[in-house]
């Protein structure tokens, strides 16, 4: 019954248990908040991503290959083997960098 708590009013109607929808915890809106998109900055551009988005997923959504793009989050270089597990956080400054022609 608690598989989609963020449905709000309907959820309250179906389940009277205040364990999951309680006025006392309402101000915090824990479930609603968790479904809110995260604001990140990617290559200087503000972007929104769903919570739980991994770096690999971000690259996939941007149709970027993981093998030639290097990522820096908050000025920390991320190892390629962490791309699949590293979840983006609110306010992350993401830099996606690759080689270009140069002298």
């Amino acid at each position: 019954m608690i598989d989609s708590p963020c449905q709000g009013k309907n959820f309250y109607g179906k389940n009277s248990s205040f364990l999951f929808y309680n006025e006392a915890v309402k101000p915090f809106q824990p479930y609603r908040l968790s479904m809110k998109k995260l604001q990140i900055v990617c290559n200087g551009q503000p972007q929104e991503v769903p919570p739980g988005t991994t770096l690999a997923r971000l690259l996939e959504d941007l149709t970027l290959p993981t093998d030639s793009v290097v990522a820096e989050i908050n000025k920390q270089i991320i190892d390629r083997d962490q791309y699949a597990t590293l979840k983006l956080a609110q306010g992350d400054q993401v830099e996606l960098i690759r080689f270009v022609g140069g002298g």
Binding site: F99, G101, G103
Partner: protein, 261 residues
């Protein structure tokens, strides 16, 4: 054979990959140059053009990558770019560039030395781009640079070897290879650097912006080979007065006593 950081190079021409009209032309020019090491720069991915990837046009079986730190204005930025380059390319090789002034793009000697010291500690193979300063070349060499890269003239100017006197001193003193970089605008400039005893040259603009970059790459290959062979063959000494090439004896119509002299 040229050896930098225990790596052998048959070709003494390094090529930059910037400013080419297309990736296809760049690819063909690099092949024509027979270069075994090319420079590349690091930039933010253009999110509007995710498929624009230079890596798909360069065969790393054939050419070694020499990432540069272009765009760095101080040691700190150069070190950040160097670490990113190593993560991106999986190579320790680095052309260190610290250019605080975008108008001249001249390298900052103090921050170049500082960054060299730090990056050598971090196990990079550092090839610093530097002004043609013989003392700085020694300082960089002592700091652990794998080669030094003095400029002939400011980047992209095609002005040739304006710093010949200083480069000659650098070549005379250096224990590490000397790669003349920047300003080389014509094959004759490259040949001159090689005749002077430079170990290699790095050419980008002169090839990339030529009318026919692929043929120009061939011309540079030939000039570098010719200049190197000339250096190995040892040039004759210079003189401020004429020295006849033809025999002075036995000239027709001259009095006998002149000939006897």
């Amino acid at each position: 054979m040229l050896t930098i950081a225990e790596t052998d190079f048959t070709s003494r021409l390094f090529v930059g990959t910037g400013k080419f009209s297309s990736a296809a032309v760049m690819e063909r020019a690099i092949t024509a140059s027979e270069s075994e090491m090319v420079t590349v720069a690091l930039r933010r991915v253009d999110l509007e053009n995710p498929d624009d990837d230079i890596m798909t046009h360069l065969d790393r079986e054939k050419v070694r990558f020499l990432p540069n730190t272009s765009g760095a204005r101080n040691a700190e930025e150069a070190i950040r770019l160097a670490r990113l380059a190593r993560a991106a390319a999986g190579t320790r090789w680095l052309k260190l560039e610290v250019t605080p002034d975008p108008r001249t793009l001249l390298p900052d000697p103090v921050d170049t030395l500082k960054a060299t010291e730090q990056l050598v500690k971090e196990d990079f193979i550092v090839l610093p781009y530097m002004n043609a300063d013989p003392i700085l070349a020694l300082r960089l060499q002592d700091a652990g640079a794998a080669a030094v890269m003095p400029l002939g003239a400011p980047i992209g100017t095609n002005m040739g070897i304006q710093t010949a006197l200083q480069i000659a001193i650098i070549i005379e003193q250096a224990r590490v290879p000397v790669v003349v970089d920047a300003g080389i605008g014509a094959p004759s400039h490259a040949a001159r650097a090689m005749e002077m005893g430079a170990d290699a040259v790095l050419v980008n603009t002169a090839i990339a912006v030529a009318g026919d970059p692929v043929r120009m790459a061939t011309a540079f290959k030939q000039a570098v080979q010719g200049g190197r062979t000339a250096f190995e063959a040892r040039l004759g000494t210079r003189s401020s007065s004429a020295r006849a090439s033809s025999p002075q004896r036995g000239q027709i119509g001259e009095p006998l006593d002149f000939i006897e002299e």
